[in-house]
């Protein structure tokens, strides 16, 4: 139990550390000094899922981006483990596309380094617009009160819309804390040895379901639970294996 609490405390990996799922994936592959291939992708799948499980707080928009990549990785890995598994042509193309995008992304990481190295190394300085000119009153022709109000209305409306969206995202991202979810599932498991994923996520929002799924992946990885699913789309059963 203490171990679990400690683990939650120790979740230090912030989503800011990586700019997105491709960044994370390329970092994982490069850290193993491998090229981008299906094999290397399969090899880093566990690490990728571990990272997702360890995320303390995720921006909901970004979470979805991470999950899309996660699902592709799981597909690649399952094919490695079970060569007999049949995948559709569409899935095949999906895998190809992921490798392609990763290669492009990897190239841009060199560009990042170039920009980082140059940034403020030898900055150039300009002069302020009309430096030294003192101000004289030169009004524009034909600006009416109405023009001013119209222009303000427009910019204020756009700004208000953006603020509302930002607030919404802020609120949502506050709600979605994987560590809280892990704690909740963990407490649930203490009371009941076994329960299903649908029980866990009953009447929950889509985002909460996603987070719950990440949380059980995490608990599974750390061997706190066993997961069982007899067929695709069947009920996922969770069983506590904490001694």
């Amino acid at each position: 139990m203490i171990d679990m609490e400690q683990k939650i405390e120790n979740f230090k990996i912030a989503s800011e550390k990586f700019s997105g799922p491709l960044d994370l994936l390329v970092s994982l592959i490069e850290s193993k000094k491998m090229d981008i291939t299906e094999i290397s992708l399969a090899k880093v799948t566990d690490d990728f899922l571990k990272f997702l499980g360890d995320l303390k707080l995720v921006h909901p928009k970004m979470l979805a981006d991470f999950l899309i990549i996660a699902s592709k990785l799981i597909l690649i890995k399952s094919r490695m483990l079970l060569p007999t598994i049949e995948i559709s042509k569409e899935e095949e193309e999906d895998i190809d596309e992921l490798s392609k995008r990763l290669k492009i992304y990897q190239e841009f990481r060199l560009a990042n380094k170039n920009i980082k190295n140059l940034y403020f190394k030898n900055p150039l300085f300009s002069r302020q617009f009309l430096l030294g000119k003192s101000s004289v009153f030169l009004p524009p022709k034909d600006i009416s009160l109405f023009d001013l109000k119209k222009s303000f209305d427009k910019v204020w409306k756009e700004f208000s819309e953006i603020s509302i969206e930002e607030e919404k995202v802020e609120k949502e991202s506050k709600m979605i804390k994987i560590e809280d979810k892990i704690r909740e599932i963990f407490n649930n498991l203490k009371e009941r040895i076994e329960f299903s994923f649908s029980q866990l996520t009953d009447k929950k929002s889509k985002k909460e379901i996603i987070v719950s799924f990440l949380a059980i992946l995490h608990l599974f990885k750390d061997q706190y639970i066993e997961i069982e699913q007899s067929d695709v789309f069947d009920e996922i059963r969770l069983r506590s294996i904490i001694k």
Binding site: F125, S126, R127, Q128, F129, L130, L131, G132, K133, S135, V136, F137, L138, P139, P140, K141, D142, I143, S144, L145, F146, D147, L148, K149, S151, F152, K154, V155, W156, E158, F159, I162
Partner: protein, 171 residues
Amino acid sequence: MSIEEKNNLKRAIEGILFVSGEPVGLKKLSKLLEQKEDDIREMILEMREEFNDRGLIIISDDEKYQLTTSPNISNIITEFLKTELKDDLSPASLETLAIIAYKGPISRIEIDNIRGVNSSFILRSLLVRGLITKEKSPNSKLINVYRISFDMIRNLGIENIHQLPDFDKYQ
């Protein structure tokens, strides 16, 4: 000094005078560049000769130096200033002016945030045209706040900012 050292020194002097809007004193140059005042003076003499064909000249007064445009291009500079200052306001400038009118006194950071783009250049040009004024924020001496100028308020045909349409609604 070697020619290369001399050139480096001249480059530095030119750069400093370029970014400074005000005359720079010999003492200050000497201290900053860690060179004797006589050497700086000599460099500036040489630079003046070399600048012969250039659009800029170094003027001096009381051991202070300033970089400015050469008198033989004053006509074209006057023309340029006219076009810069008398043009109609761009939509971006009008928008910035409107934000300052309704929300002033307001800081640059707040304006940038409302507009979603950096407004430094527009603010500077509105200031030079006398449409807005700048003052230290009452809350922090490090922050400047902008408000619409009195001249501009009168130009709009009102006596004070509260007479803007829907002014109270936006406060």
